[in-house]
Symmetry: C2
Amino acid sequence: MAEKFISLRNLQFLLYEVFDATSLTQYPYFEDHGRETFDMVVDTAMRMGKDMLFPALVEMDRQPPEFRDGRVYVHPLAAQIMKACGEGGWIGAQSSCELGGQQIPNMIMNAFRGIFCAANYSASVYPFLTTGAAGLIASFGSQELIDTYVPKMFDGKWQGTMALTEPQAGSSLTDIATTAQPTADGFYKIKGQKIFISCSEYESTENIVHLLLGRIEGAPPGVKGVSLFVVPKLRPDSHKGLTPNDVACIGIYHKLGYKGAPITQLAFGDNDDCRGWLVGEPNRGLNCMFQMMNEARIDVGMGAAAIASAAYYASLEYARQRPQSRPVNAKDPLTPQALIIEHADVKRMLLFQRAVVEGSLSLIFQCSLYVDMSTATSGEEKEKYEMLLDLLTPIAKSYPSEMGILSVSQGLQCLGGYGYCDEFPLEQYYRDVRIHPIHEGTTGIQGIDLLGRKVVMKNGRAFKLFLDELEKTIAAGRRVPECEKLAVSLAGAVETLKEITRSLAAISLKGEMELYLADATLYLELFSIVTIAWQWLLQALRAIEAQGACADADREFYQGKMHTCRYFFAYELPKIKGIAARLEESHDGLTVTMKPEWFD
Amino acid sequence: MAEKFISLRNLQFLLYEVFDATSLTQYPYFEDHGRETFDMVVDTAMRMGKDMLFPALVEMDRQPPEFRDGRVYVHPLAAQIMKACGEGGWIGAQSSCELGGQQIPNMIMNAFRGIFCAANYSASVYPFLTTGAAGLIASFGSQELIDTYVPKMFDGKWQGTMALTEPQAGSSLTDIATTAQPTADGFYKIKGQKIFISCSEYESTENIVHLLLGRIEGAPPGVKGVSLFVVPKLRPDSHKGLTPNDVACIGIYHKLGYKGAPITQLAFGDNDDCRGWLVGEPNRGLNCMFQMMNEARIDVGMGAAAIASAAYYASLEYARQRPQSRPVNAKDPLTPQALIIEHADVKRMLLFQRAVVEGSLSLIFQCSLYVDMSTATSGEEKEKYEMLLDLLTPIAKSYPSEMGILSVSQGLQCLGGYGYCDEFPLEQYYRDVRIHPIHEGTTGIQGIDLLGRKVVMKNGRAFKLFLDELEKTIAAGRRVPECEKLAVSLAGAVETLKEITRSLAAISLKGEMELYLADATLYLELFSIVTIAWQWLLQALRAIEAQGACADADREFYQGKMHTCRYFFAYELPKIKGIAARLEESHDGLTVTMKPEWFD
């Protein structure tokens, strides 16, 4: 088994050299921190990843959750990791000190999360889902709800979940049917079913707190009638005890991968005794939920990039050790075999993986920086960062997810037949990573979110701000000889993006919304590639700057960084040509006019 | 579970409308056949597929082969399918009547194989591997070997295998180390190990016949010293009995998918009592083996296309039944939900799958036609078909394999969360199809085969013949108004392919072979897309011709066919722009100059 699952050197490069995390401490919100705290967080995550999470990776896959008599039994690591993260303060670390958190920047906690995800994605989900759910109560819940739930969740004693999806609704939250009947006692009686809920039932936790979307009796139809509730598995009673709350697990999903985390189907209120407490205002549940959902989307991107990272290092280790065949120019069968890492096509597969992994991680930390800056600033500046974050969330969710699949697949391919066998972890990563384009909004939904909502919101202001950011990087690139060609390429790609956006806008202006959105997934792909090219140019600029005066080992790191950047621009960025060629013709409505009965 | 795994209508379209299989019967070799025989073959395969193979698809996955005390136990279907195929004469059907076969065209037998593979890929491997192994003995073995082995194999009583790969050699046949020591009794004593051998050990067959590559003592190093042997598990003795032949199964692989077929590691001659019989001339083993290997490569392409077909129909069935969300222009939550097949992005995912599946199948039948024409003709004409087949084999192997993965992945995506769960077969197809870019020569090896060998062989004559074939189709397309635009696009793509081939040739002429082959995988991809576009234009021409006067149900089939062709040209063909942009710059040697130590 490979020993490395993520590069600490690369995390440090992104945190401190590209995004300058320490400069956040100049803002009052983060002023108690410094490089020392940050290093401590990252080191702790690396230690826990190596000692606790990674060793159980395979075992959690081979011993998936079991469902017996309405109870779910999971691997012991679930309880251990919740305990360790609770005791270490990691679940609430990012929250305000007022709430019992430590106000650690999102960027640093994202590094923490990335390390966990790379070490063992399934295991990482337990604490991080709890972070999101507790954060939601903290943001929108009453003081009583906060006092009752948040400390227990931050301590890792109570698991949090996100209970949105229903059998008849799927991705369409408009069709949520779970009902909430008000009572005179301040709580609501909840009735309904939820499906595909992660970590929503298992024995080895004291309690499980569902953040649930439902509909108050008499609420308007559609998303405007959806409210958010806290619905615990066991409800705290007045004697500080816990009473069963009529939440039943009625099934567990047997999945392709991501097997360490139980995903279940839940029935609420079958015995008319399920109580829920409203979070935020009635009928505004979706607005609240989108705080958690947007964070979760970036977490998904991180999860995908992290699994791809682990797969990259597993394939890199194999490629460094496996002799096979000879260089093209040395076919004498009596000469020794070469290591496969010396073959150009294997190097191509490794460069591809590194380009995807480090490009994705860079974008995710870019988003973290926007999160932190919007926390630290106010007014127009805050709004700017929020808009950039909103715009880039679908990219940060879907590029790592979609490309992560291809990246892991290339990792598997590096091992040939062994990649297909369970002696090596590649086949597991291949199964695990496939969840990401599905959960927290499919790639199709991300495309519609980007093109239908984000690009056009506030008269295209977010898009304009994004272009400004790219312009700045391009201008910096033009001033550095090693980056000039890359900057020119990126400038050309930005022109393509702008032209395509204009040509699609023309369809939208005619009111042809179905046609406008028909190729939204392709638009998302094009937009993503340009975005990742920008991130690679940012990284290249720092690498060039740094490699003048650095240690030898570091010089190799920077040279590899530059070469991977060149790889991205040479092999990945040109893919926008093909996508643009299609998007220019989107008005032909090829998919819109396809009739269902023509499918044979 | 979906009921349909392959389209009989589409198979008929390809066999009779596009490639006119019945016209083969004008040649003496095939003169005993006609549409009736062909229909009988296809109907039998459909019946066996539906009644025998498909129902066991999931069970074979959930109950993989077990290895206990040196023995391997497989699902009962293995024995049943070998028996049924043996009794039906399907294992040897394609062989000459002289050998006990029926001289059925390759094209028809490929339809048979495709149906089996779509119904249950793992199960299909048992008989079809036997076909290949027996065919090899028939082509190159002595009369005694033929008499001893071929009838038993054609009858399905003895399993055939292909034993090439060794632990230290992997894909590099140069490094084969299994030894063969000549004896005075006409046989050789075999000693060595083989890995990743499909169907190479299981209890429910009378005997297993390995077609094994080894090295006669004193043979020259490298591939010029490799010979081919028949090495049975049990050797026939003079009393018509069977004696153990010192072939031991020492391990079984636990695989991501393709679980119904046992893949094992074998030790030959550990007790110095393993006998092998030479097939063909000494040191010419690779030439012989490549007959089987090339057939196996096209079989792999078929296997991938067939699994993608089954996945397509499973996702199509789901998309026709699952209501979710509403049309873009009808957001009123009180209106009924739409079926997801009505959403443009779902149609796009279905069109993508159909484009890959039917484009791949078309190319595979095109190759079958070349096989059959080279069987039926002689002299220059025969040579022409052989060259076209040689050139297109790496494409027919790798395009369906690589794109099959993406196609199945889109099928899985159509089902959202359910696609990730084992209640539906998509997750199994996703695992099963991943083997194809690996076995029988990885995609990297196919690229090197195409660019390093096939395109340049005989001064580029095969490539020239291929371009002539495309020109003919383009000329026909220009004459049909509905196809004119497509023909012009294809002509442009052919120009791109020619330019790229020339620009790479310039590198080769300078003797820079490593640089020349560094992007061979991308060249393969570009070449493949152009080839599949050609196949789609061929299909479109027939669809246009036929839809003038046809039944209503058929009209929908042809309209779907045309629309899928347009999809391929609008969404897939433009991808060559990005690939070409990279290949134009291949001389920069970006992967060649990447140093192994720069990988972090």
